[in-house]
Amino acid sequence: MTMNWIAIGDISEIPLRGARCVKTPVGKVAVFRTAENEVFAIEDHCPHKGGPLSQGIVHGNAVTCPLHNWVISLETGKALGADEGAVRTIPVKNDNGALFIALESLALAAAE
């Protein structure tokens, strides 16, 4: 499957160790920028009780959900530690700071 990359903005619009969310027809996507300037995108919906992950504290390559402190890996979308669960990860492209996401996997999931 070829990816359709959708421009979402520039990396400088996301604070370091922070996140912004992107509204899409298939729900909110949380886009993270880590201390190391890496960018990740995952569903903005904690596998535990649906908390908005984009509002959590970002540390290393993980985010802690603001509702009940689940820690979610930004790389795999999986809950870390003793908790079990996962969110979908979304492909991100960082082209010299210009950010793009590809929504196929979410769209497919929504169509299921």
């Binding site: 979402i8 619009e13 370091l16 899409t24 908005p52 504290i57 540390h59 603001p66 820690v71 929504l103």
Partner: protein
Amino acid sequence: MAEQTPEKLVIIGNGMAPGRMLEELFEKAPGRYQVTIFNAEPRVNYDRIMLSPVLSGEKDYEEIIIHGDGWYIKHGITLYKGHKIIGIDRNAKTVTSDHGVTESYDKLVIATGSVPFIIPVPGKELQGVITYRDLDDVQAMLLAAQSREKAVVIGGGLLGLEAAAGLKARGMDVTVLHVMPTLMERQLDPAAGYLLQKAVEERGIKVLTKANTKRILGETRVEGIELEDGRIIPATLVVMAVGIRPNAGLAKDAGLAVNRGIVVDAGMKTSDGDIMALGECAEVDGMVYGLVAPLYEMARVAASHLAGDRKAAFVHSDTPTKLKVTGINLYSVGDFADGDGREEIVLRDATAGIYKRLVLKENRIIGSVLYGDTADGAWFNDLLKRGTDISEMRDTLIFGQAYQGGAPLDPTAAVAALQDDAEICGCNGVCKGKIVSTITSKGLTSLDEVRAHTKASASCGSCTGLVEQLMSLTLGDSYNPTAVQPVCGCTDLGHDEVRRLIKAKGLKTIPAVMQELEWKTSCGCAKCRPALNYYLVCDWPDEYADDYQSRFINERVHANIQKDGTYSVVPRMWGGVTNSQELRAIADVVDKFNVPMVKVTGGQRIDLLGIEKEDLPAVWADLGKAGFVSGQAYAKGLRTVKTCVGSEWCRFGTQDSTGLGIRIEKFMWGSWTPAKVKMAVSGCPRNCAEATCKDVGVVCVDSGYEIHFAGAAGLDIKGTEVLGLVRTEDEALEHIVALTQMYREQARYLERIYKWAKRVGLDEIRRQIMDDAEKRKAYYDRFVFSQKFAQVDPWSERVSGKDKHEFKPMATVGFNQAAE
């Protein structure tokens, strides 16, 4: 054997060496001697090596006591505190103190220690010129440091630098004068001396080398120092730390052989067979000693002889030097002068501030100087002592033990590889085998127990890490290295340790804390970052830039997140009082933004629930126009001051409780605290504002204001404790503010006042806030200072555009874009 009358053992001096000797003696020959000690200092035996941490504020006197009063009682020792011996009568075998007490002896031990060397310059007797030797000197320095004025330390050796760092930590402007071209030239080579000077200067301490003092200036009090080259350095305190000399006058007067020190043989006997000498006053084989390890060795030998073992003999060995200034690591041992037939291996890493130098002779280490990274000090010292041939590992030797033989970088591997007789604790001469066997045979599980049984790491503490590694090697996973609960998985340090080190090391950013305290993760976690952010906001209110990314979402967007991701907004209503105009503004906001729920809170506020994040700035803008500021209902900070109507309306009211509540709230709003703080003021003991289950409460009475604290009405339910009664409203405010500041400075993040109070003790809090007016004022002033930076309404800041990214989606995309 029939019971014998114990022999009389008299000891002159109560320092660390005789203290250690007695410990060994009681173990080797319990009950053999009836012991009497004369101590010129009016106190028990304490750890002199730890005076510098007391000076810098990292430890209290109580923490450095070696033998408390109970120890003397338990061993039946008569201790004359504050008695100086003025004469020894060797014929009568008696000693006499300056208070006229005469005691006879069978065996006498002289342990009079040393006296600081005073350089013979004009002005040396002026007030404000002191030495650095005992607790009295530390107390004199602490007193002088309160002025926050200028101090000069003469002497750039171990003691002088520790004194300088301590005075600087206490807020003085410090200059170190050193006669030689580089610091600590007896322990460090010039390169390491230079690095040390840089590190000292980075702490804001001025260093002048090649500085010869000509005279000390002043009439009755010291005003400054004049150097040989004519320079004048103003000072209100001069500390002389240029060296010590053995205190042998008493022995000399008694006719004993005295050279530099009291001459003793390898069994610690003086020229009189019934008199021994040990410690800094003793001279063995032409050498006198000042570091603790050889002094403890003397103590061991002396105890053996007193117990009847005549074979024990003192042997000279090189003692490694370590500097006890937090954040500066250096280690040196042996001989490191250049010379024929000597080679050296040097490693420099300027960026990391690391310098390592090994001096070799015939393929054996004879000296080592480590600066910055001293982890391999013990290993190099071990190779030196053993005279190990290092030609096999010469290429990688300087990188340390972990790099030998391709062994993995397991931190315990280095310790595991050490031989059983490798020395772990240099101060107390404890080797690895002794520690391991004691742990096993006595079933020890904590560091304190290991310290108690083996003395390892019980003096200067710098080998604590090694001892802990040995414990985890010996005990495996069952060993829990820190009895203190670490802040989180990112560190082994507990909250108190972290708070102490932030202050002691002057750490002012989260990355600096993580770097200096060796955080195990690159940027912390959701537990430690908010805690560190709070500690830094609290400790450096004017300098620290609040890190919003380390705050919980509620404090970042100044509203409370709800289960569906919407927010609730609580405007501040001072003291719970409102009016028609405010209520109308709230009603308008409710209509305009379709707020689904309006609720009155337990803290006498109105809560607007179900607001979308994107609407927050607009909601605040409308509320702001009506004069509202944020109610901080989300903050680890001052939440609400609940009041009753008090003397203004109520027929029972004794004071204006509403007015006081509003005054407290207007004074204290915006302050960050370790956990939320809820207050209340009741106008009479009927207590309608429920002040007696709050973090801080006031119950007004006819005679004034009864201040309460440490209540709880959440997970735990607990009535308050009474702090005390004050007469006026002004006093009530000052006491409450001081109490809150004390809590801000001491509590662990997320620790409510009642838990903190339980931990530090109610009496201690009452003592500092009610009884000590000076402390109270200081707390009050620090709170007022920090409020200058904290009382900014976050809502108006956001409305004016600050961090507006927080409230808008970065982008809104549809599938049509994807089809382009």
